[in-house]
Subunit: 404 residues, 2 copies
């Protein structure tokens, strides 16, 4: 029970004390939407980050990696509309300038500012528009500004994504909140997503990094929209200690913090999948009965990434054969006779063959906006949960004409 | 020159001497289309086969593996409309009965008959309809029957797929011809595809197996439609010696045969991609400048399987950033600065950044039904070619309602 001792509260990156944020339209997006966001801490903060595993990394990832290396940061500046990727030296210079300009306006060193970009790859990056807009951006910073910041990082997202919780550590309230954007190029190992999480707990950089790694492995790294991994993925967490609560060693306080951080990351990750490009359904793939967690994850990932499974969910078709086939090519070791598959609470496959099932009941389960597929490998007690979405006409439409 | 000493000739599995075939409607397909095919050799033949790498294998794959183990076979019976997969013992019994019944009608042992099925997974297999139809099927066998056989193995295929060549070995004509079906669940390592290739050369089973493995590795194993690997993939080759030409050892004759077999397999494989579910374009991914062929293939496969790349081709969008990003997450070791990318003959990326290019010329290249993407890794001299198709609304439509 104690581990779930948090309650959801309104807001995102400014739900925690001592953080201000703002989002504006700088002109990077051709159509004039909000495209530039800033999150800043009023006091020094521990910082940790996770980045894309793609070998091709965008310039802001290179710069942020350098800036977060010392375990501290005070601000994050993010833009949408242009990924600042594959632009060589010019891109790197632009990312540094973005951090330096924000730092100057905030009275911080360049290295205290983290930077992220999302949007089209390879198009010239209009850094001059961003630099020109920074004074206005900083002037607008407010403890109520988390919402505009969350809007300003959206690309093909249809809704802004924010989530926050309050928990009690050592008898005192602590807040953890965040914002994220998807919504295509999402696949395990940090696909095109940006997220910023803030907390008013004080926590040593090494512990913060450890908590973030643990949280990411079962949240952002367990989602997939289309199996593509982006060049820009970045997840930042800043902990500024404004609550007065200090976490200085592993123990009960740390465990509480980590569980709540994992919950915030999981909720943000599920929001990304729910809003996946063209998605009409959130599909939870729960793999149980595995020999180890890695095996469960490997099987679940193949199912979550299968275009045939995803189109079947779009079509509300109880096609368990495609689920089984995906487990079959996932690379895990198993015998089909050991596997059991259920859609929601409806068993459809066991003992090596399909079960006769009520098509009407299946249709009802598949018509829901959220569906759980349960796959039991029958080999052990380990498990893993992944989240994916269906593959619709709209995904094709959005991605057939993204650049132009 | 000598290695390309073949000419295309009309026909498919009956282009070679001493083979007869036929295709009929047995009632497995609900709508009454052709769904049962038989290919038979008039005399004993060497045989080799390649099967799906999926851990979940359909019953006919189990049975055919047993029957081809001795390196000989005289006939192949294939049905569409039902995959005979995931049906436990009942499925296995049905597949054996299918082979035994065809064998009986042809005066052959059950073990001389190979068997294959394609269609929906997990639905009860109506073997009684097939058994009842076999006399009619055998009665219709003819040296002109390759076409109806090719039609009878189609599922969501929109065209029957046949290809044949004639070449000269030791001064005598030899024919190699085949048929294949796609068209979803296609991915390297033998995805949902069935193919039968016949030749009137005589070739020892061991050499035939070797030639088939070499041919498959650069043809059927280099195509992808949606990255899903089926439970039923089977590729069979029968060599009956009716031409009088014998290939008994490695050497010039074997090399000629293998090159022509590779060509037949490559043409059939490309037909599958061109007719991929919903495909409007055949996209050739040519990776050069690799350290070894494996590296080239790994990079090309990631690009060929990327939904974002495939939707961009559907949208005729010169989005080289997605191509580069896919190479980035392919797992190969490389530096973005070393890579060059061209669409057709139009260079779009070099020295770590995009090149300014003529959008009109790009649009013209992307409007073609066949497009080549050239990726040079800049590391060595090895190369690999893969074939994929675009991802369209129609793919989603076909697969959103396949089972029902």
């Amino acid at each position: 029970m104690e581990k779930k001792a948090w309650v959801a509260i309104p807001g995102g990156v400014t739900a925690a004390l001592g953080f201000r944020a703002h989002g504006i339209a700088s002109g990077v997006k051709k159509k004039g939407g909000l495209d530039l966001a800033l999150v800043a801490s009023d006091q020094p903060a521990s910082a940790a980050a996770v980045f894309t595993t793609n070998k091709v990394v965008a310039a802001p990832v290179v710069v942020s990696r350098e800036h977060v290396a010392d375990g501290t940061a005070r601000a994050v500046i993010l833009n949408s509309g242009n990924a600042n990727a594959c632009l060589g030296e010019a891109g790197l210079k632009a990312a540094r300038l973005m951090a330096a300009s924000a730092g100057q306006a905030l009275g911080l060193r360049e290295s205290d500012v983290l930077v992220a970009s999302t949007g089209v790859i390879g198009a010239a990056f209009p850094v001059e528009k961003i630099v020109a807009a920074i004074p206005q951006l900083v002037a607008g910073l407010s403890p109520a500004g988390g919402g505009t910041a969350a809007q300003a990082i959206m690309t093909t997202d249809t809704v802004a994504k924010e989530f926050a919780v309050e928990l009690t550590i050592n008898g005192q309230p602590v807040r953890i909140g965040g914002m994220a954007k998807g919504s295509g190029m999402i696949q395990p190992n940090m696909a095109t997503m940006l997220a910023v999480v803030t907390t008013d707990a004080a926590i040593l950089p090494g512990l913060l990094r450890q908590a973030l790694t643990a949280a990411t492995s079962v949240s952002f790294n367990r989602i997939t929209v289309d199996g593509d991994t982006s060049t820009n993925d970045s997840l930042f967490v800043l902990a500024n200690g404004a609550s007065g609560v200090k976490i200085e060693e592993p123990g009960v306080a740390y465990e509480l913090f980590q569980a709540a951080l994992t919950h915030v990351c999981t909720e943000l990750a599920k929001m990304i999948v729910r809003d996946g490009e063209g998605a009409t359904k959130l599909v939870t793939i729960k793999v149980t009965g595995a020999r180890d967690e890695g095996q469960a994850e490997q099987a679940g990932r193949a199912v979550a990434n299968s275009n045939l499974v995803k189109t079947a969910f779009f079509g509300e078709d109880a096609n368990w054969g495609r689920i089984l086939a995906a487990v079959g090519y996932s690379g895990i070791d198993f015998a089909p006779e050991q596997i059991r598959i259920a859609l929601g609470d409806l068993p459809v496959f066991t003992d090596g063959s399909g079960l006769p099932f009520d098509e009407e009941r299946a249709a009802k389960i598949l018509a829901e906006p959220e569906i759980t597929v349960h796959i039991d490998l029958g080999q052990g007690t380990a498990e893993a949960t992944l989240w994916t979405c269906d593959l619709s006409y709209e995904y094709v439409k959005i991605n057939g004409s993204y650049r132009t």
